[in-house]
């Protein structure tokens, strides 16, 4: 699939993507998807090795939308209140005062989320879903826009707490950055040798603009055929004989929102099946479990999804 030209995109989105590409080279497709996730008001799980530019990506995004950026490094001893914030007794006012945790920002990088205890994980995930935190009976609304990008290190398993499937479901997409090509890496070296481009990054829109764009993205047309296509794909994952856990209705809703957003990013006000096909692996993969016996035969979620995509009839008329 050829990358779409910036001129064909929505002007505001084109600027945003162009801005992020100043720091992260050669990752157009991932950037588009991440922007789509932001527009769909969803969160992203990045599963990748350290050093490929995860932090760079999120910080660039945060800076571009002029929003506040926070980073939480998850460790086994991190407490829920370290994330959400805590009420402190102010001896001057003789009252409990709420001190906001790192969650109160527009863009949050939750690093190595599987290193912390389930208690802390669920505090984060609950906040992601509810877009508010409750501490000592008081509920505090989080910022809008609110975008969490969590990372998982796929290499180390020692001392980790893998996220349960029900919680993985909260993420709209699971993305992989992957290594840059030789050429891209050389371009990166020359660009980063003089100054840190991140520091020079200027915001291209305000948080209010982003909220407006989110609303526009939600109004992208989805034809009946494409809707049926989405639902069929979902059902297919549920009755496939290699799959233990298929995609829930929440998953089909997620896919629906994601394809709308991606179509919007690509400058269209209607969804085409190509959008769906492109997003199915990133939206569905972390919501499915392959049967152990099928795994012995070499089945993986990606392979099964490839087969499902090849077998499911594309609506063409």
């Amino acid at each position: 699939m050829n990358p779409i030209k910036l001129e064909q995109m929505h002007p505001a989105i084109a600027k945003l993507i162009d801005n992020i590409e100043k720091v992260l080279i050669g990752k157009r497709s991932v950037i588009e998807m991440m922007v789509a996730a932001v527009l769909a008001n969803g969160h992203v799980l990045l599963e990748d090795v350290p050093g490929v530019g995860k932090t760079m990506l999120v910080r660039a995004l945060a800076k571009s939308i002029g929003g506040e950026f926070k980073r939480i490094q998850f460790t086994p001893d991190l407490l829920p209140t370290d994330v959400t914030g805590v009420a402190i007794f102010n001896q001057q006012t003789m009252q409990f005062e709420f001190r906001q945790g790192p969650l109160f920002a527009n863009v949050i990088l939750a690093d190595e989320i599987n290193r912390t205890s389930p208690k802390t994980q669920s505090a984060l995930l609950e906040a992601m879903e509810e877009r508010s935190v409750t501490v000592d009976g008081a509920t505090y609304r989080l910022a809008d826009p609110f975008f969490v990008m969590a990372t998982q290190n796929p290499l180390e398993y020692e001392g980790t707490f893998p996220l349960p499937e029900a919680q993985l479901d909260r993420f709209l997409m699971q993305l992989r950055l992957g290594y840059p090509t030789v050429e891209e890496e050389m371009r990166m070296l020359s660009r980063f040798s003089e100054v840190n481009p991140l520091a020079q990054l200027e915001p291209v829109m305000t948080a209010t603009d982003l909220v407006q764009l989110q609303k526009e993205a939600a109004s992208v047309k989805v034809s009946e055929g494409v809707k049926e296509y989405i639902v069929r794909l979902c059902h297919r994952t549920r009755d496939h004989h290699h799959i233990y856990l298929g995609v829930s209705p929440r998953g089909s809703l997620a896919l629906y929102k994601a394809v709308q957003a991606l179509a919007f990013v690509r400058g269209r006000d209607y969804v085409i099946p190509d959008d769906v096909k492109e997003l199915v692996p990133v939206v569905f993969a972390h919501r499915m479990i392959v049967k152990p016996e099928a795994r012995l035969e070499g089945a993986t979620v990606d392979r099964v999804l490839t087969v499902i995509l090849a077998e499911t009839r594309v609506p063409v008329s």
Partner: protein
């Protein structure tokens, strides 16, 4: 839902195929045994299959099967209500009583009830085992093989025609094997290979292989079976009965129904030492019934001392003759009460056993040997003729010596014989059935229209049958006349192939229709010369295949002269062709019999001669060359159309696009897509239009056009937008251009 997952569908298909195979096992029961109805057994087969496939828990199947069996027994053998216990008690009593009998294999003493119950139980157990082996263990090959073997054996050794069953079994069996193989493949394949398309493709492939092999087997020329009826061959005896049953060649007293295929038989009948090769005459018959020959009123003479009895001019007189001395030795498995003699008999001597007497049929010049004294049973008839009934034992002679004479027929003499037949001869030997179709007589008249005398007519008809090329000598593929159809009429005008009985009977009937007294004679051809004795006499071996029939024609003043109607035989009768030569003193030509006694010459199972006889079977049919040419043209056209199918399809689609310009853009794009699919490759159903446009290998400019058109299409289909006038006209132009450039 994937077909890969629903393995139960394949289970059901296998079960259905298995049912058809088992049905082939049961079908012969009805024909070969006194089994009245088959449905209870078919119900058992179907029931077991359904229960085994449908019920996943094996422990539950047995009680179900037993219940079903009881229900079936009740339905077939009891009148009592189903939910009563007395019939169960009766069943129990019967089985307890009959079980010991079953172990003693005293089947006859068992009651029908217990026999049925036991047979049904056995069937149930067998089919359960079979289902387990074939459907679950998927070991079907041995079963297919066994089924074929079973049907082949039945077809070969019993009067059961299983040829259709064998073909059906082949189809079902191979299908069963391929389905079970596919099921095994399904369980072994990895995820990425599990596309339903592949599965159906492989099923289609095996179907195609089966269809092609069955089709070739059906259509290909097959060599005729060397044992058309192995039972008859193995038992070595001819089978009487319906004419369609394969008969074995040989001398047989019953000629009431002629025709039907024959089978080669080389059994030696007798060895003769003779100084003249001639027909071995056995008997003649005079009444043609329309389907065969019978003997009319007979006059018998009892010859109590055949040794000293002299026969004189029984068959012919007034002709030059040659004395013949012949000794016949019967060493084969068959012996005959009828005496076979050359020419006309003078004396019979040296016979063994010596206590023989002879009943002589004076009408037909037949000698029948009997044991001991012959009793006169009644003397009736208008003329006070004495009739002797065959109430004594027939005696079969092992050997006898004959003094006889063969005629040397002067053409000059017989051509002048005239038509002054005695009344008795006219009455007896001009008989024809009333319903003989007139076209037989018309044919005889047209064949003999240039002949003036009876002798010339006889020769004309003889030549017509022997040498016109219309009638083919054939023993195996001999059609049988329909019920009520005249045997001669069927041979002359419809089947046009047959053996000596067909030829000789036709000649006799045709001659009779011309008012020439004729009769039908049977006996043996001269046989094969195997050597000579010290007096330079020929030693001839006469075998069953030499059994033969010919005709005798009556000439006033001379008597009965034999003629040969069958095309592949040469008459051994000596003729003096003195008509065409002015010197009757020339040596009398002897029929060239030197070659006749070749091994294949007999009752004419003489295949080599027939090769030259390939004549069309129907006179007014299209010549086969034309048929072949037409078939060739049709096949060629079909092949070309197949080779050019893409062009044809594309031409058709283009025409459709041209026909309606006012069409909606989406329709026109779809037509374009169909053309593209014919020219390049098909779009997979899971492939988007953009993916398709990127995948196919087309020049970059065309791909760009296609992409633009695709985007327009997406806009209308997914975005519910009407194309603006300008975009529409651009798209229209692009479609035109693409279509022009597309070449298969």
């Amino acid at each position: 839902m994937s077909v890969w997952k629903r393995s139960t569908i394949w289970q059901w298909i296998s079960a259905l195929l298995l049912f058809f195979m088992l049905r082939e096992w049961l079908l012969p029961l009805q024909e070969l045994t006194d089994t009245g109805v088959l449905w209870p057994f078919l119900v058992i087969v179907a029931g077991v299959l359904v229960i085994d496939v449908a019920i996943p828990h094996r422990w539950a199947t047995l009680p179900l099967k037993v219940l079903g069996l009881l229900w079936l027994l009740h339905a077939t053998l009891f009148d009592a209500p189903l939910f009563a216990t007395d019939w169960l008690a009766e069943l129990y009593r019967h089985i307890v009583h009959d079980l010991p009998l079953a172990f003693r294999q005293d089947w006859g003493a068992m009651s029908i009830l217990s026999r049925n119950a036991l047979f049904d139980t056995m069937l149930l157990v067998l089919i359960t085992m079979l289902t387990y082996l074939v459907l679950e263990q998927r070991q079907g090959l041995w079963f297919v093989f066994l089924t074929e073997l079973y049907l082949a054996v039945l077809d070969t050794f019993l009067p059961y025609d299983a040829s259709a069953g064998i073909v059906r079994t082949l189809i079902f069996g191979f299908l069963l094997l391929s389905v079970s193989h596919l099921m095994r493949m399904t369980s072994m394949a990895t995820v990425t290979e599990k596309r339903s398309r592949i599965l159906f493709g492989s099923l289609l492939a095996s179907l195609l292989v089966i269809m092609i092999s069955v089709g070739i087997g059906y259509a290909a020329p097959k060599k005729a079976a060397s044992w058309p009826d192995p039972i008859a061959f193995l038992l070595g005896s001819g089978m009487e009965g319906s004419p369609a049953v394969m008969k074995k060649v040989g001398y047989d007293n019953n000629d009431e129904r002629l025709g039907g295929p024959f089978q080669q038989d080389n059994t030696l009948v007798f060895t003769a030492t003779t100084n003249e090769r001639s027909y071995w005459r056995g008997d003649s018959k005079d009444v043609y019934t329309g389907v065969g020959w019978e003997k009319g009123e007979r006059e018998y003479e009892a010859i109590l001392d055949p040794q000293n009895y002299e026969w004189k001019n029984e068959l012919f007189r007034g002709l030059e003759t040659k004395k013949v001395e012949a000794t016949l030795q019967f060493n084969g498995p068959q012996q005959f009460a009828t005496v076979f003699y050359p020419g006309q008999l003078n004396k019979m001597s040296n016979y063994a056993p010596p206590n023989a007497t002879v009943v002589y049929d004076k009408q037909n010049q037949q000698l029948e040997v009997r044991a001991g004294k012959i009793n006169l049973i009644r003397a009736t008839g208008e003329n006070g003729r004495k009739e002797y009934g065959p109430n004594t034992l027939l005696l079969k002679l092992n050997q006898y010596k004959l003094d006889a004479e063969v005629p040397i027929v002067s053409e000059k003499a017989v051509i002048a014989a005239g038509t002054d037949y005695p009344d008795e001869i006219k009455e007896r030997y001009l008989q024809l059935p009333a319903n003989l179709p007139p076209r037989v007589k018309e044919l005889a008249q047209s064949v003999t229209k240039n002949a003036k005398t009876p002798y010339e007519k006889v020769r004309a008809i003889e030549n017509y049958l022997r040498t016109s090329g219309k009638y083919k000598y054939e023993t195996k593929d001999v059609p049988v006349a329909a019920e009520g159809q005249d045997f001669v009429d069927h041979f002359l005008f419809e089947s046009m192939r047959g053996y000596c009985d067909h030829f000789s009977t036709s000649m006799a009937v045709m001659l009779r229709s011309l008012d020439i007294p004729t009769r039908w004679v049977k006996g043996f051809a001269p046989g094969q010369r195997v050597g000579s004795d010290e007096k330079n006499r020929d030693i001839m071996e006469v075998r069953n295949k030499d059994a033969h029939s010919w005709v005798e024609v009556y000439f006033p003043g001379y008597g009965w002269i034999p003629f040969e109607a069958t095309s592949t035989f040469v008459s051994p009768v000596r003729f003096n062709y003195d008509l065409r030569t002015s010197q009757p003193q020339l040596p009398i030509p002897v029929p060239d019999l030197g070659n006749q006694t070749s091994p294949d010459r007999g009752d004419g199972r003489f295949d080599r001669l027939e090769e030259g006889d390939a004549i069309p079977q129907k006179r007014f049919s299209i010549p086969w060359q034309v048929n072949v040419a037409l078939l060739g043209v049709a096949a060629g056209a079909g092949f070309l159309a197949w080779r050019r199918r893409k062009e044809i399809q594309i031409w058709w689609l283009r025409r459709q696009i041209d026909l309606d310009k006012s069409n909606k853009y989406t329709d026109r794009f779809n037509l374009l897509l169909r053309v593209m699919e014919r020219v390049y490759t098909r779009r997979q159903s899971g492939e988007t239009l953009r993916e398709y446009a990127s995948r196919i290998t087309i020049p970059a400019d065309k791909r760009q056009d296609l992409r633009y058109l695709t985007e327009m299409y997406e806009r209308t289909v997914y975005g519910y937008k009407e194309l603006e006038q300008k975009a529409r006209s651009v798209a229209e132009q692009l479609i035109e251009r693409l279509l022009r450039q597309l070449k298969p």
